[in-house]
Every structure is written in structure tokens, then in C-alpha cells.
């Protein structure tokens, strides 16, 4: 018996997904030359399967700031924030993030994954509770596992279900940290944040909103769904990532509570890792400015989103979200059909994502398309043309009805 035996089923699935052409998971991308163009298997493709919502990865000011920092401050910090890895830029970015929200505290983490791990495991300790949405990202679940708090799961986007779970805790609900996301990245759906806020207030619990996929995209200043829903005053902590709209890598937590600062003393994923490199921090600071002032980018993104959602629906595709957003998840009846759609779209020069269980909720097989402010009208046309071919050649859209 080998310790590798447990991976056999996953390895078989991987082989199947890699048969005949580039693999649909961990797709090898030969080169990327802009926010929307790259090469896969020798073919020029339109990138519609990234999280580059604001399209800033090739912004000349972001690149220049990163290049300058690389030259002036070196390629890496070689240490933790606790030790030798706290540079001026880290503190400046934290100030700028806190200022963007008008809040007193912010902490930068080295990845988005660690932002959830570090915040949740740091905030909630033995005797506290973490109440998380069932469709939460793996980093939220892993943050719960690292915490000594008791973790309870409530039904996806169901404030009434959360209400019942908090009610069962009685007075202890005041030690409960509720975690929801601003946009669920598999299905592209959004939570009823105003209702969650009411439930949280009713029980005196604390609310964390993970805006990883919604920061930059929603709200007048791009601060996320909490801003758009007008509930910022009732959110306690917002978690975000630098690796999507902010076009770098890293993560953050901002809070209306000054005591967030204390997490620096208790959060293992913050303490025991090297801090982000100066180039990443410098680029992120410029990207943050562009996002807060990015009305025109958001307008173009919104236009692209509405055209894609309307077009996909007109073709008869069933989408994971009723409310249009930067992720359009086309629900397909089984893995083979979803894979055929993924390959078909790639053949028409569009790279999207194949998403399959257990990464997806409810055992769904998805073709996930994500929009960027950098996509032009012609780019959206190309995606819709590709979908038109799929609708004609592959699964009749009514097949999607088979999945309820």
C-alpha cells in the first residue's frame, strides 16, 4: 500500500481532462502579452478565464512602479513582517487601504489565501464561533480549521438559516464571527448582504465580508459589494486580495476596529511567512489608486457584463447567477458536455475555465467565463460568437434543464 494510492482517482480524472489537446485544468499558457491576449498550445487566444476584472496587469503605471521598486529596494524582503520584512511600502499600503474605507486599521498578507487564513484563525479562538456560508472558498474553510473556534456552516445565501444557527447559540452569538463573500467565484452569485447585516445586528455577532472577487468591481469607489449595498457601516471586517482586480499577489484585511492591529501578534499565517516583495507592494499601491478612481473602468466592465449575460441567456444557456456580475458560469449537465464546451470555446480562440466537482457547489459542471474592463466590445462579440457555435453544435440548451 502506497501513500500515493489516495491520489489515484484524481490522477485518472486529470489524465482524462488532458486527453486530446491542452489540459482543461492547470492549462499551460505559453505566453501572456496583455490583460486579454495570450497563447495556448501555439494558438493566439482571448483571455476570458482570468480574474483580471479591472484589466490592470499590464497598466504602464503599475508596471513602472513595480520596476522602480525592484531597482530601489531589491527583489525580495527575505523575512517576515515580525522580523526584517516590514518596509515603508508595506505600512504605506496598509494606510492607503484603511484610508480608502475610512477605517482605522488594515493588515497586508502575502497572499489572498493567507488573508483569510490569517484573519479568521487570528480573530476567532477557543470559545468563539465561526459561522460560514456553505459555498465558502477553501481559504475560508482552511482558516476555520486553523482556528480553535467552533465552526458552523449555514446554507448558502440563506440569512434565515444563519438566523436559526445564531439563535441556537443564545448569548454566545456575541462571540460569533459570520463570514460571507461579496461574490461567489464559482457560480458568480452575490449574497443578500443587507439581510445578513440585519441578522448579524439582531444577535450582536460580528460580520466579515470576503470581497476577493468583488473589490474593484462593485461600489462607487470600487470597495466591493458592501459599498454598493450601502452596508459598510455595519460590516466589521473586509478581506480582499491583490491577485484579482489589484493585479498583483497578496491580500488584506481592513476593519472599523482599531484592534485589528492586535492580529499581528496572534495570526500565524501573518507571522510565519515572508512579507510581499517591494515590487508587488509598489504596483499594488498604484493599482489601488486606479481602482478607487476607476469609474470609467467599472463602466466598461459593467457594459461587458451586461452584454455577456444577455447574450448567453438569449442563446438559451443557464447561468449560475440571476444577477449579472463579472463571472458568468454556464451550467452544463455533465463533465463530458462541460469539457466539450470548454474545448469548443478554445477552438474558437477563447480561453475560459472548466469548473467541476468538488470545487463547485451541488455537483455542478461549469464553463466559467470572467469579464475584464480591458475587454473591448469586439472581444465580447468574439466570446458570444464562440458561444453561438457551441449552442448550435453541442448540447441543446434545454439539456441544461436536466440539472435542477
Amino acid at each position: 500500500m502506497s501513500i500515493f494510492e489516495k491520489f489515484e482517482a484524481a490522477a485518472r480524472a486529470r489524465s482524462e481532462l488532458a486527453a486530446d489537446g491542452p489540459s482543461a485544468i492547470a492549462t499551460p499558457i505559453d505566453s501572456v502579452r496583455s490583460a486579454t491576449r495570450g497563447t495556448i498550445d501555439g494558438q493566439e487566444v482571448l483571455l476570458a478565464g482570468t480574474n483580471n476584472y479591472m484589466g490592470l496587469t499590464f497598466d504602464s503605471d503599475v508596471i513602472k512602479a513595480s520596476q522602480d521598486a525592484l531597482t530601489s529596494s531589491g527583489s525580495g524582503t527575505t523575512g517576515s513582517r515580525m522580523a526584517n520584512g516590514s518596509y515603508d511600502g508595506h505600512a504605506a499600503l496598509e494606510r492607503e487601504l484603511a484610508d480608502a474605507f475610512g477605517w482605522p486599521a488594515a493588515i497586508v498578507f502575502s497572499t489572498g489565501y493567507q488573508a483569510n487564513l490569517g484573519t479568521l484563525s487570528g480573530l476567532a479562538a477557543d470559545g468563539d464561533y465561526l459561522l460560514v456560508d456553505a459555498d465558502s472558498h477553501a481559504s475560508i474553510y482552511d482558516g476555520c480549521r486553523l482556528s480553535r473556534a467552533q465552526t458552523l456552516v449555514f446554507r448558502h445565501n440563506d440569512p434565515a438559516n444563519l438566523d436559526r444557527r445564531l439563535a441556537r447559540l443564545g448569548d454566545e452569538a456575541k462571540r460569533a464571527v459570520v463570514v460571507v463573500e461579496g461574490l461567489y467565484s464559482m457560480m458568480g452569485d452575490q449574497p443578500p448582504l443587507d439581510e445578513f447585516v440585519e441578522v448579524k445586528k439582531k444577535h450582536g455577532a460580528w460580520l466579515v465580508v470576503d470581497e476577493a472577487h468583488s473589490f474593484g468591481v462593485f461600489g462607487k469607489r470600487g470597495l466591493g459589494l458592501s459599498e454598493q449595498a450601502g452596508v459598510l457601516d455595519d460590516v466589521d471586517f473586509i478581506i480582499g486580495t491583490f491577485s484579482k482586480s489589484l493585479a498583483g499577489i497578496g491580500g488584506f484585511c481592513v476593519s472599523r476596529h482599531q484592534q485589528l492591529e492586535l492580529l499581528r501578534l496572534a495570526s500565524r499565517p501573518y507571522i510565519f511567512t515572508a512579507s510581499p516583495s517591494p515590487a508587488v507592494i509598489a504596483g499594488t499601491r498604484v493599482a489601488l489608486q486606479k481602482i478607487v478612481a476607476g469609474k470609467a473602468l467599472r463602466a466598461q466592465l459593467q457594459r461587458n457584463i451586461e452584454r455577456l449575460y444577455a447574450g448567453a441567456r438569449k442563446l438559451g444557456f443557464r447561468l449560475g447567477s440571476d444577477t449579472p456580475g463579472p463571472v458568468a458560469a454556464i451550467i452544463l449537465p455533465d463533465r463530458a458536455t462541460a469539457l466539450a464546451h470548454w474545448k469548443g470555446l478554445l477552438a474558437s480562440g477563447v480561453y475560459a475555465n472548466l469548473m467541476i466537482p468538488p470545487a463547485t457547489p451541488a455537483g455542478l459542471n461549469l464553463l466559467r467565463i470572467s469579464m475584464s474592463a480591458a475587454h473591448s466590445d469586439e472581444d465580447v462579440d468574439q466570446i458570444l460568437d464562440g458561444l453561438t457555435v457551441l449552442a448550435a453544435d453541442l448540447a441543446p440548451p434545454e439539456l441544461a434543464q436536466a440539472v435542477s
Partner: protein, 85 residues
């Protein structure tokens, strides 16, 4: 009056019907993952149904330590009767 364990067993039956109707009523001593073939998301959906049936909240770490439906029933019974899970 039925015992807590009877109530829990009935709730597991109902939870299976609601969350995983295609399974029917599987062997409750079979390992949920390797024996019945459930993934982590399916197990969580099943447990959420059972929680609603019994009006209790089951901590995630209880699930992590539970391999079969009968083990789950034992833990839930102890939880409801006021012992530590």
C-alpha cells in the same frame, strides 16, 4: 416516546432522501467517502439537511472525525442529550 437515537436515525433517513435521493438508503456502517463515494460537498449538504431536521448545529470538526453514518448518529445523539460531541 421515541429515544433520541431513534429521532436521529429518522433524521438521517430524511436527510438522505432530501440531499442525496439517488443513493437510496446506503449501509450506515460504510465509510462515507471510500465506501459510499461521497465528496466533501455532498457530505456537508447531507449534514445540513440533518441539522434542519433535528434543529441543531453540528460543528465542522465533528464531521471531520466521523467516518460512517452510524458514527454520526452516535455523536449527534450524545450532542442532543447534552454530552460533549
Amino acid at each position: 416516546m421515541s429515544s433520541t437515537r431513534d429521532r436521529v436515525d429518522a433524521a438521517i433517513g430524511q436527510g438522505l432522501n432530501n440531499a442525496l435521493p439517488e443513493l437510496g438508503q446506503p449501509d450506515r456502517d460504510a465509510v462515507l467517502t471510500s465506501g459510499i463515494g461521497l465528496d466533501s460537498v455532498q457530505i456537508m449538504n447531507l449534514v445540513m439537511e440533518i441539522e434542519d431536521e433535528l434543529d441543531i448545529s453540528v460543528p465542522v470538526d465533528v464531521l471531520a472525525e466521523t467516518r460512517t453514518l452510524n458514527e454520526l448518529a452516535e455523536r449527534l445523539t450524545r450532542m442532543i442529550d447534552g454530552d460533549t460531541p
